[in-house]
Symmetry: C2
Amino acid sequence: MTDLVLTGIGQLVTNDPQRDGLLGLVDEAAVAIKAGRVAWVGPERELLRELRDLPELDCAGRSVLPGFIDAHTHLAFAGNRAEEFARRLRGETYEEILAAGGGIHATVEATRATDSMRLLDSSIQRAKRMLGYGTTTVEIKSGYGLETETEINQLEVAAAIDDELAIDVVPTFLGAHVIPKEFIGDRAGYVRLVIDEMLPAAAPLAKYCDVFCDEGAFTVDEAREILAAASGHGLRARMHANQLGHSGGAALAAELGAVTADHLDNITSDDVAALKAAGTVAVLLPTVSLSLRLPAPPARRLWDAGVPVAIATDCNPGTSYVENMQLVIAIASLEAALSPEEAVWAATRGGAMAIEAEDKGVIKPGAVADFVVLEADSYVEIPYRPGTDLVRIVIKNGKVVAG
Amino acid sequence: MTDLVLTGIGQLVTNDPQRDGLLGLVDEAAVAIKAGRVAWVGPERELLRELRDLPELDCAGRSVLPGFIDAHTHLAFAGNRAEEFARRLRGETYEEILAAGGGIHATVEATRATDSMRLLDSSIQRAKRMLGYGTTTVEIKSGYGLETETEINQLEVAAAIDDELAIDVVPTFLGAHVIPKEFIGDRAGYVRLVIDEMLPAAAPLAKYCDVFCDEGAFTVDEAREILAAASGHGLRARMHANQLGHSGGAALAAELGAVTADHLDNITSDDVAALKAAGTVAVLLPTVSLSLRLPAPPARRLWDAGVPVAIATDCNPGTSYVENMQLVIAIASLEAALSPEEAVWAATRGGAMAIEAEDKGVIKPGAVADFVVLEADSYVEIPYRPGTDLVRIVIKNGKVVAG
């Protein structure tokens, strides 16, 4: 069924700016869905008789939110770096770990070595768990191939997940993730490969082009050149920026009008002002800081400056093997100083802005009918009860798909 | 069935000090269970033929651990303090929250006002979720009655959970949790009530007596008097100590040879030395610090000094509404500087020491057959993949009870 009416909603988070407060809460609400989109939202007592005749799901006083939008993941990977993680927690340095064959190059090697079916198998399991935890749209980046064939494999896996699961996938080409081992000493050669060979092949499979513009990855000039070429292929820009240092990435994201600047752990007041002026969305990744035992990203500062903030898992095998947006909301509140409502907004409407989805992350007429029904009567319970899966039912395009 | 043989265990955490390393790991292992207890442990190739004929559970290469032991909870409560939590995260002070009717007194009021059946209903749901997340033994404290009838109700709820669910419950009397409102101005009167009326009534239902010995709660002299009386009723001592300040609680715990000293956020080198000499177990509660946005407990310091460390949820509606020991392991590693193996030990063998269970938290002949089978091939994945429920199967007394 893609027609449905949700009744008995104790607390509805609409994120509709036409309503009161950040989350546009409606109490004792109902939502009617026709053909997978929201047809009507409001207090249940105002529900029209004709909508009452739709197939009904009684939410029994529970809280209903837009489905979570995870706007930054690298979930299409092979291999496992649990042992590297353990070594790091025992005090080894990243240099020692790299020397022992760990780090991102280990994932590149494993992802190149696996076949497409196995890559799809493990990736789809991750996406399925994400959906079960309430994520209805997920961005997936390539970037563990660093050569054309595997980059394309990753993007095909992203497309296959979109086809096979109810979750929506937004694919991003990240050939410029890091300089691969075989090009160390020939950075310019790798940039040419990305621009001349990978981009033309990847563009039909991707919506965005991302570049890791940071210390140890790509320079501002390299990133500018790659993103200009991507723009020529119709791919808008996202950017890994200022995670490791004051790299100039955030300023470049603003200069280029990138859709997002992600990480942003090291930013100046000028960076913040530039992102605000550009309308670039800050995609913050609080579980990366958690996993790396580092200070939380500057969520409060960006939010207070008026930069739109999204939060995401960064699901990847090295620095944040996280699949659950409920944990991201909790850590954003508890470690990155967002209030529960700000964190919930950033995981829903903020995530939608980060993928330019006007009709997601919001519950109003015309929006895609993607919801989570909580096993709780308030969204506050998500950070209040960390570690407990509070998503009871997941609804995608008006259909119950999990729970 | 209480006879069972687990085969195909890729990695077995035994915690057996006779084996190598902190966790006494055995690879490619098997465990035989007879009458709910471990009969044999070792490499599968050495499994005797007669044990091969037991009913078999093939673990398909997964990691198997002792069931988690959650040695500090207040799970038998009524009411909900999500709104207070949200106010705190928006920046209100504890004083403002108390003035608005929040804080522990709100839970005392709600727990006094509820009836026994409703208290059991909500509490048993929490215990059931805990069991599903891998906790096979849970300590439950009273302390939200602060008058005899409700304290007894809470202990009866603890007993009912033990009867009705597979999870084992260790009951603790905590009448001296805080001075109730009606005794403010008559501390001595409340201490007399605890000693003369509550303790005799509670003793048959409890294994331990706990006192919150800290700033704003009970003084060292009051705690000493209450715990001495408890000892006369056969109840050994636990103590909430040094959470809020340098209260003298840890030193008193050591002086009395208490089984545990819990929280310990503010301790001196003398406290550490005294706990070590006394053999008192430090029960640390890292998700309390997370929920309160405070620095993590000094796990590293206590561990390095040789004090036995347990980690627990402190499940309660004010400062740590956590039901999932997997999250506690992750936060202990990521925020409190334990290694993954130390955190896993503290959640299993450390927890068992904190409830004086020689035959739990360890997998060796004669031990209670309480295990979790992970959806992973290593215990490291628990902190490596926070937010994902990695417990696939829970086994209690040799029976599959969840998953």
